[in-house]
């Protein structure tokens, strides 16, 4: 697409997103809001997975930290939601520093397992530290407060939808800028050939730690949006199953495309919604779809779409 065409398409998309509250029913808007939240989670995972080549099995932990962080701030101090968002994202980022430092000492499978191990540790802490986290019951009654002190309330689905949509769009914009920057290029070089990267003059671990923390902050933001949205935070938001689902969203949508994982999150959750109303075994079907996609369609939906577009373009050019 040419630059002008692209801007028009983008503007149209944004207009559509802005106009949806007038078109959709309340509960539909609610579902879409949740899709956006998980889209943000999947987007954050793509930064480390698609661009840096680091597979994390414990990314949900940062979603969970964001959720608990914002829940605690909202319940105990009734801060405006953006403050809670900041708090949750920051908590996730701060924890990601030592975890990331140790995990990035390792590569490949060792790294993946370390992330899982740390996530399990955090999950166990959330589960057991009843005084702070409410244990297995979690924290309930998290309110949607206001946009700023004595500002407009965010209690209505429409208002909250806009909050989430703005966060997602901003995050997407920031991530796109990030992957095109010198830092972003360096991340991709690490994914392509880490040993060569070191020999060319930079220590890959510093970059990996940086992007790990950045991804954790975005995941924390998603979690921080989730807690007031659902009204509660519980240990499930940190569980390995959610980490796995995030991975699946990235793969289904298209690894390394930023937009793909957002699409993937939405597709994945919609499939889940539909399937779960038909059968109790829905997770088996989603798992099976995932396995089939890994074998046959590793580029995901967006990846397949891009390949198809490339194919059409070269046909038009008269190429093979």
């Amino acid at each position: 697409m040419t630059g002008a065409r692209r801007s028009v398409a983008l503007a149209t998309l944004l207009l559509v997103v802005a106009a949806l509250p007038w078109v959709l029913a309340r509960y539909q808007l609610s579902i879409l809001t949740e899709l956006f939240i998980f889209g943000l989670l999947a987007l954050s995972l793509d930064l480390i997975m698609g661009y840096t080549g680091m597979v994390s099995f414990g990314h949900a932990a940062y979603f969970g930290l964001g959720a608990y962080g914002s829940a605690l701030l909202l319940i105990n101090f009734a801060v405006p939601v953006p403050v809670a968002l900041l708090g949750g994202a920051l908590l996730a980022g701060v924890v990601a520093v030592p975890v990331g430092y140790i995990s990035t000492r390792a590569t490949g499978i060792y790294f993946a397992m370390l992330t899982l191990a740390f996530a399990q540790l955090l999950y166990t802490i959330a589960f057991k530290w009843r005084d702070l986290t409410g244990g297995s019951d979690g924290i309930a009654g998290v309110p949607k407060t206001s946009l700023w002190w004595n500002g407009p309330s965010l209690a209505s689905p429409t208002a909250y939808y806009y909050l989430v949509a703005v966060c997602l769009v901003l995050a997407l914009g920031l991530c796109r800028g990030l992957v095109r920057s010198p830092f972003g290029r360096a991340l991709q070089a690490i994914r392509e050939n880490e040993r060569k990267f070191a020999v060319l003059g930079q220590d890959p671990r510093r970059f990996k730690l940086a992007v790990f923390v950045i991804a954790a902050v975005f995941a924390g933001l998603a979690g921080a949006l989730f807690a007031p949205f659902r009204g509660f935070a519980s240990p499930e938001v940190m569980f390995w199953v959610l980490s796995g689902q995030a991975l699946m969203m990235v793969i289904v949508g298209g690894i390394g495309t930023l937009v793909g994982p957002i699409v993937g999150a939405m597709a994945f959750l919609l499939i889940q919604e539909v399937l779960s109303s038909y059968t109790e075994a829905w997770m088996i079907f989603t798992g099976a779809i995932f396995v089939l996609m890994v074998i046959f369609l590793p580029g995901g939906l967006v990846g397949a779409f891009l390949t198809w577009m490339e194919g059409r373009k070269s046909l038009a050019r008269g190429g093979a």
């Binding site: 997975m49 080549g53 597979v55 099995f57 140790i102 000492r105 390792a106 590569t107 490949g108 499978i109 060792y110 993946a112 397992m113 370390l114 899982l116 191990a117 740390f118 399990q120 540790l121 166990t124 057991k128 040993r195 390995w240 199953v241 796995g244 991975l247 699946m248 793969i251 109790e280 075994a281 997770m283 088996i284 798992g287 099976a288 995932f290 396995v291 890994v294 074998i295 590793p298």
Partner: protein
């Protein structure tokens, strides 16, 4: 003094269990260069199938032998229908595939058996305690220690002293060469994978009377198994042994003196080792 002996035996029993699970993981990595995220779920299958087998037949010893075979066959089937197609891909895809399989299997177990844990009694011959080294110690744990030793010896003999073991080691070193020399590489891979799953299943059968069969045992054991292989180094059987002993000891003593923080201690140990030796204690340097 008697507490010390008891702790030593506890550590040994736990190490034996850890070894059973982690050696299969290590084998699959060493020979197939694949990390099987679903490995822990095969352990869980072993426990649940054993529960069913014992409930149906009333015989523990039968299930000890039969269930691992069933689990192994199941694993081999999975490998030849899914994993074999993606060996040449970057490792991320194998991780994801086995992860997807783990999810499917875990859900399957949940649907078939329900969410509550299934407790199991040890067989009559292994119940109760006997006197050993001046203390009374549960028979079942001594059985676990014995089982661990037997399996370790068996694997060592298999790999070092048999023709099959030679072929396996050749495939591990250089699969293309082995292929040219006439070894059926795919068959070896399927067999090794199945064997590793059988070992995990055996671990599950052995663990069930002690821990019950419960959902999530697959995930918690795989984290433990990975701590073992991180400490010991992936692909090294000796490393699995050493790793199991170290982690078993750390968990036992940590659990005894610090209970809640035992897990933290384990991660601290793992983290410390990785900071100074990113390839594990026995792993190969990159």
């Amino acid at each position: 003094m008697s507490i010390l002996i008891e702790q030593l035996l506890n550590a040994a029993a736990l190490s034996a269990l850890l070894f059973l699970v982690s050696v299969g993981l290590s084998l699959v990595f060493g020979i197939l260069r694949v990390v099987n995220f679903a490995h822990g779920v095969f352990y869980m299958l072993g426990a649940y199938f054993s529960f069913t087998a014992v409930a149906l037949s009333g015989r523990f010893w039968l299930s000890l032998v039969a269930v691992p075979v069933v689990v192994g066959l199941f694993g081999a089937l999975l490998e030849s229908s899914t994993l074999r197609f993606i060996y040449r891909r970057p490792p991320i895809y194998q991780l994801l595939l086995t992860f997807g399989i783990a999810l499917i299997l875990e859900e399957g177990v949940r649907l078939v058996y329900g969410p509550t844990a299934k407790p199991m009694d040890p067989p009559a011959a292994l119940q109760g305690a006997i006197s050993v080294a001046g203390i009374t110690y549960p028979r079942y744990r001594l059985f676990l220690i014995g089982l661990g030793i037997v399996v370790a010896l068996g694997i060592w003999l298999l790999l070092k002293r048999t023709r099959a073991g030679l072929v396996i080691r050749a495939v591990a070193q250089n699969s293309e060469m082995a292929d040219c020399l006439g070894a059926d590489v795919q068959r070896v891979r399927t067999l090794v994978f199945g064997f590793a799953c059988a070992l995990a299943g055996l671990g599950g059968v052995a663990a069930a009377p002690m821990t019950s069969a419960y959902l999530g045992m697959g995930i918690s054991v795989i984290v433990d198994a990975f701590v073992v292989v991180v400490v010991g180094g992936l692909g090294s059987i000796g490393g699995s042994m050493a790793g199991s002993l170290i982690v078993g000891a750390a968990q036992t003593w940590g659990g005894f003196y610090f209970s809640e923080t035992a897990m933290v201690i384990m991660y601290a140990v793992m983290g410390a080792i990785l900071i100074f030796r990113p390839q594990g204690l026995f792993g190969e340097e990159e």
